[in-house]
Symmetry: D2
Subunit: 283 residues, 4 copies
Amino acid sequence: MEPVYRLTISCPDRVGIVAKVGQFFSGHGGWIVEANHYSDPVSGHFFMRHCIRVNSLPFGLEELKAQFAPIAEEFGMDWQVNDSGAPKKVILMASKESHCLVDLLHRWHSKELHCDIPCVISNHDTLRSLVEWHGIPFFHVPVDPANKAEHFARVNAIVEEHKADTIVLARYMQIIPPELCSRYHGQVINIHHSFLPSFVGAKPYHQAAERGVKLIGATCHYVTPELDAGPIIDQDVIRISHNDTVDDMVRLGKDVEKMVLARGVRSHLEDRVLLHGNKTIVF
Amino acid sequence: MEPVYRLTISCPDRVGIVAKVGQFFSGHGGWIVEANHYSDPVSGHFFMRHCIRVNSLPFGLEELKAQFAPIAEEFGMDWQVNDSGAPKKVILMASKESHCLVDLLHRWHSKELHCDIPCVISNHDTLRSLVEWHGIPFFHVPVDPANKAEHFARVNAIVEEHKADTIVLARYMQIIPPELCSRYHGQVINIHHSFLPSFVGAKPYHQAAERGVKLIGATCHYVTPELDAGPIIDQDVIRISHNDTVDDMVRLGKDVEKMVLARGVRSHLEDRVLLHGNKTIVF
Amino acid sequence: MEPVYRLTISCPDRVGIVAKVGQFFSGHGGWIVEANHYSDPVSGHFFMRHCIRVNSLPFGLEELKAQFAPIAEEFGMDWQVNDSGAPKKVILMASKESHCLVDLLHRWHSKELHCDIPCVISNHDTLRSLVEWHGIPFFHVPVDPANKAEHFARVNAIVEEHKADTIVLARYMQIIPPELCSRYHGQVINIHHSFLPSFVGAKPYHQAAERGVKLIGATCHYVTPELDAGPIIDQDVIRISHNDTVDDMVRLGKDVEKMVLARGVRSHLEDRVLLHGNKTIVF
Amino acid sequence: MEPVYRLTISCPDRVGIVAKVGQFFSGHGGWIVEANHYSDPVSGHFFMRHCIRVNSLPFGLEELKAQFAPIAEEFGMDWQVNDSGAPKKVILMASKESHCLVDLLHRWHSKELHCDIPCVISNHDTLRSLVEWHGIPFFHVPVDPANKAEHFARVNAIVEEHKADTIVLARYMQIIPPELCSRYHGQVINIHHSFLPSFVGAKPYHQAAERGVKLIGATCHYVTPELDAGPIIDQDVIRISHNDTVDDMVRLGKDVEKMVLARGVRSHLEDRVLLHGNKTIVF
């Protein structure tokens, strides 16, 4: 895949944004290979994502940023531009359950997911061998009710040390403290094993069985201080019947969890997810 | 379709139920064309539905009931047996929205749904012409906050007068009073325009937009005194995106609502739904 | 909904298209509320759809066309611009089966589908009363193997007389002659009751039963001289099991057919479907 | 999970089968925990699957077979009975693509799939390390157009040596010779990366792109001498758009392939798949 710059923009909607941005790029010979726009009729906000061939522009990323800055200022844009050739650094966190971790590692290993994975952190040592087979360092950082602060200090240190820009909670099962949520706002992705907002918190499949629902689901979302209430990136469901026990739900749900998490992570890695308050625009 | 007797049974599980029932029918030459069983490992309860060709048995429905009663007693069965040739009497209730009503009427008119529809009741006169085109009587029973008791007394009178055994709330939008829920326990079917238990009550699509979910759904359930909390018969969802406004959700949701309601009603009409506390077994 | 001009463009891809079009509209104060782009990496072709608020431009449709023409010529564009306030004229054709026709008529009647329906044509008289209840003229144009030429001459005359720009075959079940396909290229929409390219031609559900597939489907496509081989607009499937007879498939398939047809027709009416050889871009 | 005997039966339908089988088990105190029946109205054939608790019966598998044989003979049954505690021996065959293999190995490793995997055979050495990490022997049996007979003789020898009763082609990409298909009739499971019968043979995603379909799929089926034409166990699809290149289809398709293959293999391992000519009954 030819490298592209990915420009994402959000700003108040008005006449001339598309023209101005289009003109900027075409004036420099920039070849746009992908373009998405969304005007929110409720908030009057405008969102945009453009991919421009790196090789079509006469300058590099820093110069692009410098040249684009005045336009951004004119329109009051929140904006970002990334080089698809500079993959994000993603730290995976897991507990004992392996399905989401195996899935993400395999997608990375087979070059389906373009990112660096500097390390995996887990509160159990169970998945060490699996992770290390992939040539990825594994940090076992135990946690118990008494040492939570210590645990998360250590997690935070590892994240900073590896200069990670994304943390994926691949069924990590611990509640992230608010200060960590805030520090990495829009960078911590979780998979919750229910179709949110139903069945927040612990044991969602037990809750689902209790209520007698006919579909179970999974939700990939950014983590915020309020439990399971952050901006949703993706969701999906699978049909169950009276015949499925909680154990069956756990098994069937795994397939939905890993698919939804992988799709959400992929969208995030490709800068397709724009935040808008507690919602997402996913191009 | 050849007429069949539909026997549904629920009782504590133990050895010999299937054999006893099987023996009973084969002893009389009864030809079983459909058989479903479910043993609930949690409650230790057993559920069964059999369809037996009417013409293969040497006796009619009343005699079948009489002969089967001792077996039912021996095993402590809750049981029912119906003749597929004697369609249920279903009263439809609607408000102004036509999509669910049109859908059900068309399925009935094209002989996809086997039931009698003695009348349609609505708190508005909007859909009269549509209903009457189908040759079905239409009762306009207005309702306002001041006359609810009167309204439901009239509804109840119409239901009793027509000896209905099922009431389908095809987007009727009024809360059924508890005594009516109790009187027609397991006989009143509602369609709620959300994936329950999310978004109970009013304006579920607005709630969905507020939360930023990526799927919207509909739930067909039996009505109980607690709002939107009755046993679920069927559910389904449809994918939406940031691009869909509440109006889009309303439009897209209609297709899910009518499909889920039609499937739920069909299952009910064919005696496929067995109640188990606040859950359903749907064979 | 505020009226918009819908501009669709296809042309060879190159630098500057988006900028030029954007500049054109912003130069006239045009407010773009929806914008879609697609660059086909295989053919090097570029496709675009823009919706611009009618009230934001200082001129009407004809002047817009005149002013835009030079740009279109410069880039070698195939292009169209329509006013969303001027609904398309759609003639529905049906046979005896009512499910697709009822569905489309209901969506039109409840203002979900924005179009005019000048008349319905059928080779049977079965659905007359249903159509006429909607206040739409019904033409019964019988057909038999001996009078096909005559039949289609009459159909063609009705289409021309009503200045229809779209013909929807809502389970019409007759093969359209090649000259009619060519005359109305990209304007005749059919629903085929299989997941094409499987089960072309007659009795697809029988073919599906024969092969033992586990999903059945429906395909909405533009009609071309080659049977069931035209550009696909939309498709969907539904799960079946060994338990479903051909009659069950026919019943279950109806729901998929009408949903897929309605979605395809809606996309067509909103100028979201661009033809690219035998494929479609659906924005 | 408590061990059960799984009895599967197919025979001409007639009165008394269910009763006779039920009586047999209840007479010996046999506790039926799962029961499925299907009467095919077209062929007049009857299919049944029962799970009976091992511990509820006074005898073992061999004695059960001996006692049941007279009943089987009376009704002309094709029948099988297996002990769920004696897992099947499954040999996996793969080529270079890892997604299906990784998925199956992970499900086996996490005890989701109950079977023994005596070895993996591949015509490439690519996946050796992955397989061996799981503690499973890996046989690299190269193949080229000149040595096909030799290759399959070696494959056959390995299968016989390990007394495998199931062979799963996890994207093995070689055509199995007819004599091997016949020898292991109903025991060789393949995943084909299209929604069969569309796109038989090589490069189905290229065929799908060529035709412009809006859904792509995968089919899990038993292998027979005719290419991609054996009895279908399971199928599924995923939505694509004009925006998806063949590479995107390959990527998206992988998720469907591995899910469908895993479901099909699971059904097979649990004796849920009964063959009926070129079709399957999947209980």
